[in-house]
């Protein structure tokens, strides 16, 4: 049952990801992208990392997907015509995939089953974030602020014209 759920999720995720990568319609690709990420977050739920899953939805669906969609809108003038596809990429991607799968299969230590762990509470994450990872957290905070300002400035229209 659980495994079936996993395969369904994985198939949904990979399928929509593939759709996102190959769908010639930009907007559909973006929406597929969103679905793929919902899949990823479900995978996180499935793995017991509820918080990460929620954050994933929050960030990717609530923010990144909207941003992408906006960007598509703002650059729509030629967006629909740009349907070129570079087949050499497929070769590289497949080669990498093959390499990865080969190395995963080659490592026997990977074929293990998950141990029983007590569920990870949000409070625990918060405590760890605020104690052991407080400096990285601050760094990320600064990074986000800087990115916000940077993005604003980059995207702002030139008032001179």
């Amino acid at each position: 049952m659980i495994n079936i759920a996993f395969f369904i999720i994985a198939a949904l995720t990979l399928g929509s990801a593939l759709a996102a990568a190959t769908n010639p319609k930009l907007m559909h690709a973006a929406l597929s992208f969103a679905i793929a990420f919902v899949g990823v977050s479900t995978l996180f739920f499935w793995l017991g990392a509820e918080f990460v899953g929620l954050v994933q939805i929050f960030v990717y669906i609530g923010a990144v997907a909207v941003l992408i969609v906006f960007t598509i809108l703002l650059t729509r003038r030629e967006g629909e015509q740009l349907r070129g596809f570079n087949w050499s990429g497929v070769v590289v991607a497949l080669a990498v995939f093959a390499g990865l799968v080969w190395s995963i299969l080659k490592s026997p230590s990977m074929s293990i089953l998950p141990p029983e762990v007590s569920p990870l509470t949000v409070k625990r994450i918060g405590e760890v974030l605020m104690s052991d990872y407080v400096w990285p957290l601050m760094g990320v905070g600064v990074l986000l602020t800087v990115a916000l300002l940077g993005a604003l400035i980059l995207a702002m229209e030139d008032k001179r014209e």
Binding site: G89, V92, A93, A95, V96, G99, W102, S103, K106
Partner: protein, 654 residues
Amino acid sequence: MNAANVWLIPFAPLIASLSILLLGKSRRAIASAPAIAGQVIALTMSIFAFARTLRAPGYREVHNFVWFNFGDQSMQLGWMIDPLAAAMLLMITFVGLCIFVFSIGYMADDKHFTRFFAYLSFFSAAMLGVVIANSLLLLFICWELVGLASYLLIGFWIERPSAAAAARKAFITTRIGDMGFFLGILLLYHKSDTLLFYDNGHGCLENAGLLLLGASATAIALLIFCGAVGKSGQFPLHVWLPDAMEGPTPVSALIHAATMVAAGVFLVARLYPIFSAGAINGVTTSLTIVVWIGVITGLIAALIAVAQFDIKRILAYSTVSQLGLMMVSLGVGGVTAGMLHLLAHGFFKALLFLGAGSVIHGAHHEQDIRGMGGLRGAMPITFATYAAGMMALSGVPLVFCGAWTKEEILHAAWRWPVSHVPFYLVMLGVVLTALYMTRQMIYVFDGKRGPAAHESPRVMTTPLIVLAACTVVLSVFLTPAWPWLDHYLLGERAHVDLWKIFDQTILISLLLVGAGIGLGVFFYREALRGRRQDPFQTAQPALFRFLANRMWLDELYDYTVIRAARMLSRIADWLDRYFWDGLVRLVGLLGQLFGIITKTADERGINSGVDETTVGARGLGRVVSSAHSGQIQTYLGAIGLGMLALLLLYAWLA
């Protein structure tokens, strides 16, 4: 009025002073009222304090308290009532009151009427503080405040540069002495660990404290005496006192009669146990020095007084001379005599100054005695009271207080075991005193009628009359027949012995005074018929000029001490500006030099090397850059292939 409350006495004038200042300029009409009120309250309380000292001979009451703590140590202050203090309190408040009243008339049309009374009250308060202090520190504090007050009052007519200069001179000169005083306090404190005079046997004037001082007592006494020298205008720091006449006349009266100059003598009297510590036969090194300073001062001042023409200046030098006399008395062991003379002097010198003020006021602010003359008719009350003062000063026996005290001093000087020279010199001083006072009287009141003058208003003459009466009444307590005041100060009971009046010294003093007055009349009365030229001046022009110019002492100081200090400061300034700063700049220059060298080495050596390297690197970059197409996806593909390569490497290694 017990000792714990005695602080109220200086406090009353202080409050008066503050309230006047707060009243401001606009309340001119009532500005004098708080001052007078303060003084009256202080006088009343002084009388109560005095009455308390009458309870027992040598009555002394002390109130000590902690002023502040430093670390776990404490600094104590205190005040006291004893006969010395009580008598001084009475004298200061009473004379002060007279002067205040007089000032109302004298300063009536001055612009800064209110400020004047504020200063006067402040002055009075500070002086009263000196008197009641039971701690050398408190005494010093009040002492400095007295100095400040005198500075303010001497420089009262601020717009006159001469007044400002005189004020400055007074402040600095007395401060020179005070530096010695200050060091004396430090030494005393260091040795005895207390600055209280009396403290249940632990005070520095009590036996236990004096024992701690030991051999350093002489040094302490001499250092403290420096302060007295400054404040009481002793040689060589007397130069400020005559200049201080730049202030309004009541100020002169207050400074020269009741307060400031008295402080020095009072200080010596108060600290007499230290001066006489370890005395053999009543003689110590410090006291000997006091005597000689006093003698020199007395004589020099008396001599200079003979050659002065300014009415106030003559009185000023007479003050200096009388103070010298008191110092002699203290030095030779006649403490009470000195103090008595101080008290008596307070009354009659105030009287004389106020009289002079009255004269100046009447003669439209003429101060040169050559410009006066024949004022006897125009100003009868002034004349009469002035004459009483003059006789008290000269020491005309029997009814004038000055005579008895002077006689006591002569007595004491005679008994001094070290030398009789002071005795003779003091006698000379007495003669000279009588001489110059006679000269002054004749110049001012005798002779032909000078410019139009008028008698002063009632508010000015009343204090004169009161003071004149006092000089006479006071003599009752001073006669050898019933030396009540003398014994009061000594802490004994006085007995009446009428025969003592006819001592042999009274003859001597009669003789001396007679000689002085006679000579004066002889010299000046006749000569003055013709006017315009002082007979002494015609007879001995060189000597007269020497004396008239105050023995060139001011100039001497000016050319030596002051010039030297000034030069020193200029040199220091020059050094600071150019030498030390130059050194610093030199160091800076060295740094700069080093910088230049480094810079050159940097530019010529390292920089060019780097340049070559970069040129090479640029060439290499050109070669490499051709591989960069600017296509993101090419780069990404390269990354992917690189990753694949890494994977393969990993697999190969594993």
